[in-house]
Symmetry: C2
Subunit: 269 residues, 2 copies
Amino acid sequence: MASSTLTLAPELLLQRLRMVAQLNAQEVELVMSLGQKPRRHAAGSLICPKSDGSPLPRLIVSGWASRPRILADGRCQVLSLQLPGDLIGDRGKRRPLAMTPSVALTPMTTVSAEPLVDRLARDPEPYVNLISALNSVDRIEDSQLLDHIVRLGCQSAPERLAHCLLELRHRLSLIGFTQRDTFPMPLTQETLGDALGLSLVHVNRTLSQLKRNNILRIRSGVVMILDAEKLESIADFSPPDYSSARNLVPLRTSAFSQERRPAAHVAAV
Amino acid sequence: MASSTLTLAPELLLQRLRMVAQLNAQEVELVMSLGQKPRRHAAGSLICPKSDGSPLPRLIVSGWASRPRILADGRCQVLSLQLPGDLIGDRGKRRPLAMTPSVALTPMTTVSAEPLVDRLARDPEPYVNLISALNSVDRIEDSQLLDHIVRLGCQSAPERLAHCLLELRHRLSLIGFTQRDTFPMPLTQETLGDALGLSLVHVNRTLSQLKRNNILRIRSGVVMILDAEKLESIADFSPPDYSSARNLVPLRTSAFSQERRPAAHVAAV
DNA sequence: CGTGATCTTGAATACAGTCAAAAACTGTGG
DNA sequence: CCACAGTTTTTGACTGTATTCAAGATCACG
């Protein structure tokens, strides 16, 4: 049982990589060779402990994590959420996000991604597609950071929640974790609040409102989206476009002479 | 006059690069060779127009820019601010932030950075320090993005303003644009609001409050910080550490069992 | 000097936060 | 299988911060 899941550990990552690039047999083999040294993490524990200051690269096999940033007075902001199939920790590129440690939000399993990272660093030539695929995955992560900024900077509570849930649904769909309009969502409302810059209580009220309006349903950690169209219109959400960078520049010219009006759809919720 | 400023165009970039790495003569020469094809941009105009979808790399010589993101209903979120000495546009790494076009907030001058980018792509070996310096600069930009998230996600209006002003002071000090506690700040309060996720009116009131408390003074686009200590205590600001990644992981363990209390210093403002 | 942009101020409103307590759900051990 | 303790969710009442609308003052610039 356990050994079979371990053999399949890198499956989810492979699935995501294949979405952005064609991989040859050697590349697939390298990815699938991960799965050694699986480690379990209790909820609340720190993953990617920085021994020398740099968190070692790991692949999430199961469970969710976050990268929290704690202010001097205890306030917490979640910078990003991490799902199965995500790579975490330092992969040599040393981007600041990759350098911030992750905290397990649920019980987790991870495997070391060092074999992959080391191999690509030592001998990149045979793995050009793989490297490009990993870069694409990084770019998608970056663009989610930008979405996060927009959410926090200029969206209302219902908009933030809607956008976040749609992002999660999208990410989970890539690894086959959605069934129809249903997906697992093991975050507490407090964590959701920390991610969306809202108080626990306000997250609760806003979710109740979405439920009351038959837009979604949540029970026992599973979200069911009843009215995807309405949720999308609230969120102003567009999933990342994998083939081009078109969606990354949704700018209108003369950006600064635009007047703004409040989001009409919000009132309708 | 004009020609002398053009000759000195890459000076500011060089200054920043030298702060993060030792450059040899050849590298310095390559950087200083920029300055061809200077272009002026009117305030409000789009820089880095994406001819083929990818904004060409340019170096800001003078003036400020921003990367705005416009929502369907006209709301605007500034993703980042760009100052003289900053590189903008696509440098081959194709990170989403680099791909979003920039808008001039003031009249600007830029020069093409293509010679630099092309040379490094074609012939990287002699320029290892330079490449590493450019990467460091990128990383600092990334970590400013994370700071932006924290600001928007869990800071109050006075905190956001204080933090933003200190970040600007710090960035401007790196290019020699500060004098004592004084620095230029050509942003309108509306743009400041778009960056900080606050309404124009609230930015105004919050600034007035900071002025009233003798923490700072603003007149004719110049900020003077009167009480840096108080401003820093409001902002919870720590400038990036150039020698290590230490400051990028300001995490306390057991992040999620912490209770939070409101920022005491805010009330004191 | 006039015109448009920017800043400032006031008043009313709305959105979100805080405090507090109760209800529902968890997982655990008896 | 149930009882219990801790966590998470839900609800209410109140407060506070930030937004909106509106109007007037000031500034920059031609």
